[in-house]
Amino acid sequence: MNVNSRATSKIAVVGGGAFGWGLALAAERAGHEVLMWSRRPQREGSQRVRLVGELAELAAAELVFFAVPSPHMPALAAELGQHLDGGHFLVHVSRGIVGEELQTLSQVLRTRTPCRRVGALAGPLVAKALVEGAPGGGIVASRFPEVQAAVRDALSCSSLRIYRTDDLIGAEFASTGVGLLAMAVGFARGVGLGPATLAVMASRGMSECARIGVALGGRTETFTGLAGYGDLLAAVADDGRPELAVGRELAAGTPLGQLGRQLGAYVEGLESARRIAAYARRTGAHAPLISLCADVFEGKVDSGQALAGLMSRQVGEE
């Protein structure tokens, strides 16, 4: 394509879920024209948010957000990738990882498209705040300052603070960890555990994530920052994210079939926990809490066994 034809103020969004719409409306509010592609559009476009029928049309924007669940990312990236070149910036908001080697989704974007300037948007950003323009913050991770600047420009408004980091793998893995830990927090609340137990669970869980994340190439401080602890704090304070609701439903014994629109978050959390647990088993990394989460989400152990498992572990140095 002719890159010169790309208007600087066009932003593209793949995925018309709650978060995709949040990004689109935030970008619209920042004065950009938005192109959105959705498999099943759930609402009408607006004055400056145009729904497009073909993925290829998104190539007219320089910055493309991916706001789809991780299982759909590889195929969509490959399809859209046919229309992109090295001039496009791709940023995803997913909390998932793929494959046995815990590939992050920026790695998927790099291998399925010709794009290299990729990044991830993480931290305690929730769709509702994006839609309403409520005060909030997040973090954009990319090795490319141009990508960081483009995301901040796309979403800039006085109430939204977007920090930046070049630790892409760390931010993605932290975000994945927060996704599954938020589900665990919801579950723990659902079975009536108190603040102290929640705190132990959240802290130990984040330490496990950080250990594995660092082994994968991330930096410890990313896990203690907005993409890790910062995001988890918002979940513990109950910011209404879907993972919390899924956790509560699991605790209540709701059959999976009745999870409805929250099924996506369930699948993401379960898959992440399973993959990390399997990776830890294979490599000898220490991740007992995440392994327990995988068993609980899968229904292999009930809440009583989970609590016993959590509390019977040998206590060592932190």
Partner: protein
């Protein structure tokens, strides 16, 4: 004056031949040398014009770093330069900005002069004729007259070249090659230079440690074959900037280049897993700079692995590694490669072995990690060509952006490190060393690395068991190789396990001063665990995959050691 060593000898320029149009760019280097140095200085100075604070800082930093270094060097040569730098430190504060710019220009000019190489086609012609002869003469003196007439078969047998060579020849004509080999020996540049010559690939320019220039004869050849001098002792930021600018400009101008992205020889014997790229990163910048001024010459990065059945400096390297001294002894100038006798013995040993060195080129990549096709077009994951220029464009305009290029360079380093793993050729000595080392670990579960490395001549292995485990490990390597995980070297591809063991014992005996392993009745006795560790380290990434159920625990220990120390 900024000068440490007198200039290497050059032949008079007016007697030189005129390059032909289809000669590689390097044949024109001598006429471009002056303009290149001028351009390097201009670009470096430009960086500081209009930034008085930055300018003062870089001069201060350079002067103080040099004073520190030269004061500790403490010889006649140093004392001369030391005075100049000390006077500069005193004067800097009082100078006008114009005077400081002048000073910067002078210092950068001296540095660039010191770095810049030379290329003399006559020396190249001479080298192509005599180097194989000299090496052959060392290896088999009696066969020289015959070989001069019939080609240097001895040397051809010794060095095997693999990879997409025809494609590289073609790409060398349409773009600039940046070769990026693994680094395990000071012989690497010689082996690679010979491989390029034999395969009719163009000569390359490369940065060589200044210590290698201390021998006048080696210096004469290196200097006149396009090598530029890198003085690793100089810490000044300005020197690094001049060096990077020089390297970048050479690639911009289409000079095929060579970098060892691991930086220094791999002390542990492992294939480099984390690459910082350093100077090689200038290939990305060179591409962007060309694009920004409308020159669309592509740059191709060519990963290569250099694989030896026997490593000249193995003993020094592994000792240095185990002492944890790798960093402090960045420059080792007293190893085997500096001892003529050891080099002679090494080649004398090699002549008994066939295919003891494998130079394997990997598939070339563009600066953005895309594979390229035979015509040099970058190929996207969809299989369609993608315009490499698009990667250096923002809002449709090609720009030079160091922060962006640093991002690309990091990714390229990771991609090349992955290619290294796949393109590593496992040599028979390495596999036998691995099985013996695994035995050592298996038999000493209570010991840590350092305890184990002290066990000379205490652990043995029944030969029949060694052969069985070598055979089983080779079969597993075959599977890994079929899946594209690694390459199987000569001997391992075709020979039976007993023969592989024999060949390894033969290769080890007679060159290294320490016995690695020896026959002891029906057993093989482990002699020097350090050298064994060095040779087996190439197999660390595959240790667990090669293990039998009985040796799984030992293999896991080896994998967890990640090369030891």
């Amino acid at each position: 004056m900024f000068r440490l060593l007198s200039r290497p000898l050059r032949l008079p320029a007016f007697l030189g031949p005129t390059p032909r149009p289809d000669d590689p760019q390097i044949f024109r280097f001598n006429s471009e040398r002056g303009p290149i140095i001028n351009d390097v200085v201009r670009r470096v100075v430009q960086h500081y014009v209009g930034a008085p604070q930055k300018l003062l800082y870089v001069l201060n930093e350079a002067a103080n770093a040099e004073v520190r270094r030269l004061a500790s060097q403490d010889d006649l040569e140093a004392s001369d330069a030391l005075g100049t730098w000390r006077r500069l430190v005193k004067r800097l504060g009082k100078m006008s900005e114009e005077e400081r710019v002048q000073e910067l220009r002078r210092i950068a000019g001296d540095m660039a002069e010191d770095i810049a190489g030379n290329f003399d086609p006559r020396v190249y012609g001479l080298a192509t004729k005599i180097v194989p002869g000299v090496l052959t003469a060392i290896m088999k003196p009696g066969s020289l007259p015959k070989q001069v007439l019939g080609g240097f078969r001895q040397l051809d047998d010794l060095v095997t070249t693999e990879g997409p060579i025809e494609k590289l020849r073609r790409l060398a004509r349409v773009g600039t090659l940046v070769l990026m080999p693994t680094h395990s020996s000071n012989l690497d540049s010689v082996a690679l230079g010979y491989a390029l010559m034999r395969e009719n690939l163009p000569p390359v320019v490369y940065g060589a440690g200044k210590n290698l220039f201390s021998n006048p004869l080696i210096s004469f050849f290196m200097h006149n074959l396009g090598a530029y001098r890198v003085d690793r002792r100089i810490q000044a930021q300005l020197y690094k900037e001049v060096l990077k600018t020089y390297s970048c400009m050479m690639i911009e101008r289409g000079y095929h280049s060579l970098f060892f992205p691991g930086g220094t020889r791999a002390r542990s014997g492992m294939v480099e897993r984390r690459l910082k790229l350093g100077l090689a990163g200038t290939g990305v910048e060179a591409f962007a700079r060309n694009q920004a001024r409308g020159v669309s010459r592509p740059v191709f990065f060519v990963p290569a692995t250099l694989n030896y059945a026997l490593v000249l400096e193995a003993e020094t390297l592994i000792d240095d590694h185990l002492k944890g001294a790798g960093k402090s002894r960045y420059i080792i100038d007293d190893d085997e490669s500096s001892q003529v006798k050891r080099v002679y013995e090494f080649f004398a040993k090699l002549q008994q072995l066939r295919s003891a060195m494998v130079v394997r080129f990997g598939e070339p990549l563009d600066p953005f990690c895309n594979p390229v096709d035979d015509e040099g077009r970058s190929i996207a994951p969809s299989g369609r060509p993608v315009d490499p220029a698009s990667y250096v464009k923002h809002h449709g305009i090609a720009t030079v952006d160091p922060a962006r290029d640093a991002g690309y360079t990091r990714e390229l380093g990771e991609a090349i490190a992955r290619v290294y793993q796949r393109e590593t050729v496992i040599m028979w000595t390495q596999l036998v060393a691995h099985v013996l080392y695994r035995r050592l670990v298996h038999m000493t579960p209570e010991l840590d690395l350092f305890g184990r490395q002290r066990l000379h001549g205490q652990i043995d292995m029944p030969r029949a068991q060694l052969e069985a485990e070598v055979g089983a490990a080779r079969d597993k390597l075959r599977e890994i190789s079929a899946a594209g995980g690694v390459q199987l070297g000569p001997v391992l591809r075709v020979q039976r396990a007993a023969e592989i063991v024999d060949q390894a014992l033969k290769a080890w005996s007679g060159y290294h001063t320490k016995v690695i392993a020896s026959e002891d009745g029906p057993n093989i006795m482990i002699g020097d665990p350090n050298l064994l560790l060095f040779y087996q380290n190439r197999l660390v990434p595959h240790a667990e995959a090669l293990a039998t159920p009985e040796t799984a625990v030992a293999a896991r220990t080896i994998a967890a050691m990640g090369g030891g120390a």
